[in-house]
Amino acid sequence: MGADAAFDALADPVRREILTLLAQRDECSAGELSEHINRVGRTAVSSHLRVLRTAGLITERRTGRFRYYSVDATGPAQEVIQLLQELFQGSLDATKAAAEQGAANDAGTGTAADGPVRRAM
């Protein structure tokens, strides 16, 4: 997939909103997406989905009369979006570990830990 098509596809705010919704979920039907996007109607969402699919940013799966959409992890724009998302998630995972470790230490000693020392750069 060319980056040109990806960027044309990303130029539209509704398409970006769709992509953000899909990035947060594994898979979504066109109907579910329409429920979350208020500024345009169902028909418009369908045509935006077609543009995103043509640009290679999302993939479509059909089951009977239903169509399900998910982000295409192989697209360049999607790759960097996913990279950032994982980067932020990884950062929060470390926050969780540090906070819970701190809470466990406090419980172990029975006293509140000293405030963290602010370090120099």
Binding site: F88, S91, A99
Partner: protein, 473 residues
């Protein structure tokens, strides 16, 4: 502009206050919470070391400022490098613990930067009907510190030029390349700008990048301008070097520095590339003329973060003044470590590349006892500078990085270029280059300030929140 909002979420079995306290504490709580800042308060500068492209390539420094804080639930950061954006940290009670959410805005410029850095081609869009001008700057790497406001001011100049009718009947279009403080990448980006249609490139980078790109693009027929302070030596034909020269900076600063230090022994320390080496060569001559002596000299490669051995040799040398020729993030780390190791108690420090964005990242405490010298500081009096600063703040807001000699020089160069083309015609790059060198206009730093004749230099002491500029009486 439409933005993509990326979110990440995590539940933590600890109270919100405990989670909030981890921010900026440097306790290994993830790269976002390990933000480097002197305080968690509105206006404080902050650096996030994002491990963006794996451990091998080192972290990417996201440079910003805390724009909102509500303890213990909200922290908002506005960042300018490598792209402009906003990062929100939400810390809310959830059951017996805490729900932490990160919400990051990503706009086109951010996506483009990430894609290019990952090696994907990104279309620059059609340039037909416009007058494209390239800006080669440092969005990442050490120089991204002093380049913080550069793109903003280049964009402001373009707005003003276009409001004034553009160039040759067409609107000027700014196209930006990031050298990542790496001459090799800088040359690749310079070629990209040329292939996208730019016939002029303003290179607001280190001289390491400018000299290499200027050489490799020698047959491209492109006009290359270095607006920022530089060592000279390449000016001529389609290569124009504006900006302060070390000779003028040092002549203005050497004698007063020795007087303030109460001694004449100098230690020269800087990054290992062409500009710091030229600064030191010039310094040996200028200091000798003023009765100073050099008691030590040392270099460290761009990107160095541990300066302890070098600072030990400064302390052992018995120097009265340190001439610091580090730049950007290297200057920040060197000076913070000098402060921590007690250099300030013994020596005064003169840094030719000490400007407003670099000073605030060194921090008020660590920068006390430092002086900078250049042709522009924000505090310069006069209605032109006043109006300039007001337009900048109105356009980019209170949390945008401060302007400096380095970013102001790019603003000037864009205006000088537009004026030069209007006089010489768009088809005569050689004539445009000559006009650029000798144009006289009223700029924030004063009339005819950048160019062939020596600029007015100002010696400025780093103080809390800014500089105390020594104005001619």
């Amino acid at each position: 502009m439409s933005r993509l909002a990326l979110t990440a979420e995590q539940h933590v079995d600890a109270p919100p206050e405990a989670v909030f306290a981890l921010f900026g504490a440097g306790t290994g709580a993830g790269w976002v919470f390990d933000a480097v800042c002197d305080r968690v308060g509105v206006g404080a500068v902050v650096t996030l070391n994002a491990p963006m492209f794996g451990a091998a390539s080192g972290p990417v420094e996201i440079l910003g400022r805390i724009s909102a804080v509500r303890s213990p639930s909200r922290i908002e950061i506005r960042h300018d490098q490598p792209w402009r954006g906003r990062l929100r940290v939400h810390i809310d009670p959830n059951g017996g613990g805490t729900r932490v959410r990160l919400i990051a805005d990503l706009d086109d410029a951010g996506l483009h930067w990430l894609m290019r850095r990952r090696g994907f081609p990104v279309p620059d869009g059609p340039v037909a009907g416009t007058h494209p001008v390239g800006l080669l700057t440092s969005k990442s790497g050490s120089a991204s510190v002093f380049a913080s406001a550069t793109e903003n001011l280049a964009a402001m100049a373009v707005e003003e030029i276009n409001a004034d009718g553009g160039i040759d009947g067409r609107p000027m279009r700014l196209m930006v390349g990031d050298d990542a403080t790496d001459p090799r990448l800088g040359t690749i980006e310079a070629w990209r700008l040329v292939h996208a249609g730019c016939r002029v490139i303003m290179a607001s980078t280190t001289s390491a990048t400018f000299s290499r790109a200027a050489h490799e693009l020698r047959d491209s027929g492109v006009l290359m301008v270095q607006p920022v302070m530089n060592e000279g030596g390449l000016d001529g034909g389609l290569r124009v070097q504006l900006g302060e020269r070390p000779e003028h900076q040092l002549r203005a600063a050497a004698a007063p520095m020795m007087q303030m230090a109460g001694g004449r022994r100098w230690f020269l320390a800087g990054n290992d590339y062409v500009w710091p080496r030229a600064v030191h060569t010039t310094a040996r001559r200028v200091l000798a003329d003023d009765g100073g002596t050099v008691v030590g000299e040392n270099f460290a490669p761009l990107g160095t973060r541990d300066f302890a051995p070098l600072i030990e040799s400064v302390l052992q040398s018995g120097a009265d003044v340190v001439l610091s020729s580090f730049v950007g993030a290297d200057l920040v780390h060197f000076e913070r470590q000098c402060h921590a190791m007690g250099v300030r108690d013994r020596c005064r420090s003169l840094a030719l590349a000490l400007d407003e964005p670099t000073r605030e990242r060194i921090g008020d405490d660590a920068a006390a006892g430092m002086w900078g010298v250049s042709g522009y500081f924000e505090q310069l009096p006069g209605p032109v500078n006043e109006a300039f600063l007001q337009r900048y703040r109105t356009t980019f807001g209170q949390f945008a990085p401060p302007v400096s000699s380095i970013s102001e020089s790019v603003y000037e160069a864009m205006h000088r270029y537009a004026a030069a083309v209007r006089r010489a015609g768009a088809d005569h790059l050689g004539a445009t280059a000559r006009e650029l060198r000798y144009s006289r206009e009223d700029f924030p730093r004063g009339e005819a300030a950048v160019g062939q004749e020596p600029q007015r230099m100002f010696l400025a002491e780093a103080t809390t929140g800014g500089f105390l500029v020594d104005l001619p009486r």
